[in-house]
């Protein structure tokens, strides 16, 4: 098996959780209600927990002595391999919920399947993450239904966000050579097998939320290859500046 494909695969999972965690953290102190402030922060903390385990593992696989902190705080934008969806800005609460719902539904299926990975470390992380993701999906689905089936304004806002963010979902299932190699090695599940389950879940919740599923798009973003939208650089600047200004600072 190609070791660098293995590392890249683990980094994709790690960075998707890390970047989404950072985005959700931006809500702290700004959510519509104190209870939602804590709800979003809890999800953010679950995600950072996943990212820590995965980054530590990626560092071990790499074998160059890089820790989770080194990988999180000292890599540049093109070295981040997260899905492009999760770096998209929060927008209003409804847009954050749409983004969360789309990725939660994907991570549910992914972690469910990854529990059976031949990579014991990944299987272990997936089993833990799956429990957390079930709650994330419960939270984001409930809010999507409330907002979609809510007032005219709330429905318009989440439908607009869905129409806009939908184009990033193609990337979830666009398998490249890293994905294919991991499937051959028995480490990752086939994305083609996950897609219909994701799609069915999306349809079910959108129906309940009285939202329209946007038309499928051909173009896939390549966040997992390190090609990002213009938003990731700003997010990383915010996340990394302290570490880069005062390397090794602790408190």
């Amino acid at each position: 098996m190609n070791a660098s494909a293995h590392i890249r695969y683990v980094l994709r999972l790690a960075d998707t959780s890390l970047v989404l965690s950072q985005r959700l953290g931006e809500w702290v102190g700004h959510a519509p209600a104190l209870e939602e402030d804590l709800g979003l922060a809890n999800i953010s903390l679950d995600l950072i927990g996943q990212a820590r385990l995965l980054l530590t593992y990626a560092g071990e696989l790499e074998g160059r002595g890089r820790s989770e902190d080194d990988l999180a705080m000292s890599r540049d934008q093109s070295d981040f391999l997260n899905l492009a969806l999760v770096e998209q800005p929060n927008g209003d609460f409804g847009r954050t919920i749409v983004r969360q719902f789309l990725i939660d539904a994907f991570q549910m299926e992914l972690y469910e399947a990854l529990q059976r990975s031949k990579d014991a470390r990944l299987a272990e992380v997936a089993a833990r993450a799956l429990k957390e993701t079930r709650y994330h999906l419960r939270y984001s689905s409930a809010w999507l239904v409330r907002l979609g089936d809510g007032t005219d304004e709330s429905q318009r806002r989440v439908q607009d966000a869905l129409d806009d963010l939908w184009r990033f979902t193609r990337e979830f299932f666009a398998a490249d050579e890293v994905d294919e190699e991991m499937v051959r090695a028995g480490i990752a599940p086939s994305l083609a097998e996950i897609e219909p389950r994701w799609s069915a879940r999306i349809d079910e919740v959108l129906r309940e939320a009285t939202l329209k599923r946007p038309a499928d798009v051909r173009y896939a973003w390549h966040g997992k290859r390190g090609d990002h939208s213009e938003h990731l650089g700003y997010l990383l600047a915010d996340m990394q500046f302290l570490h880069r200004t005062y390397p090794g600072a602790s408190w």
Binding site: A31, P32, A33, L34, E35, D37, L38, G39, N42, R138, Y139, A142, R146
Partner: protein, 97 residues
């Protein structure tokens, strides 16, 4: 925090710390309905493994005793010391009495 949270009704939250113990009142949350109240209670009050079960009840559904009647309600129990089970030896093994 904002107008939105003020519009949501208040729910009282009860948490059971461990199986076998009773649910205890821990505080309250604002929520649009009972389901949201459970989720808010989970996010606000069980972040440090405080519980295994949550009850929520709309605060407006709680009927409270009138503080003005406290004398009539509670004073008569004061001089009935024989009602206290203080005449039994409690075995050390019994933790939750």
């Amino acid at each position: 925090m904002s107008a939105a949270s003020n519009e949501w009704p208040l729910f009282e939250v009860f948490i059971r710390a461990r199986s076998g113990l009773e649910h205890k009142h821990v505080g309250s949350v604002h929520a649009a309905d009972a389901r949201m109240a459970i989720e808010h209670a989970r996010d606000v009050y069980t972040r440090r493994q405080e519980g295994v079960s949550i009850w929520v009840v709309r605060s407006s559904d709680v009927t409270a005793s009138d503080p003005g009647e406290a004398e009539a309600l509670f004073e008569p129990a004061k001089d009935k010391i024989y009602r206290h089970p203080t005449f039994y030896a409690i075995p050390d093994e019994v933790k939750n009495l």
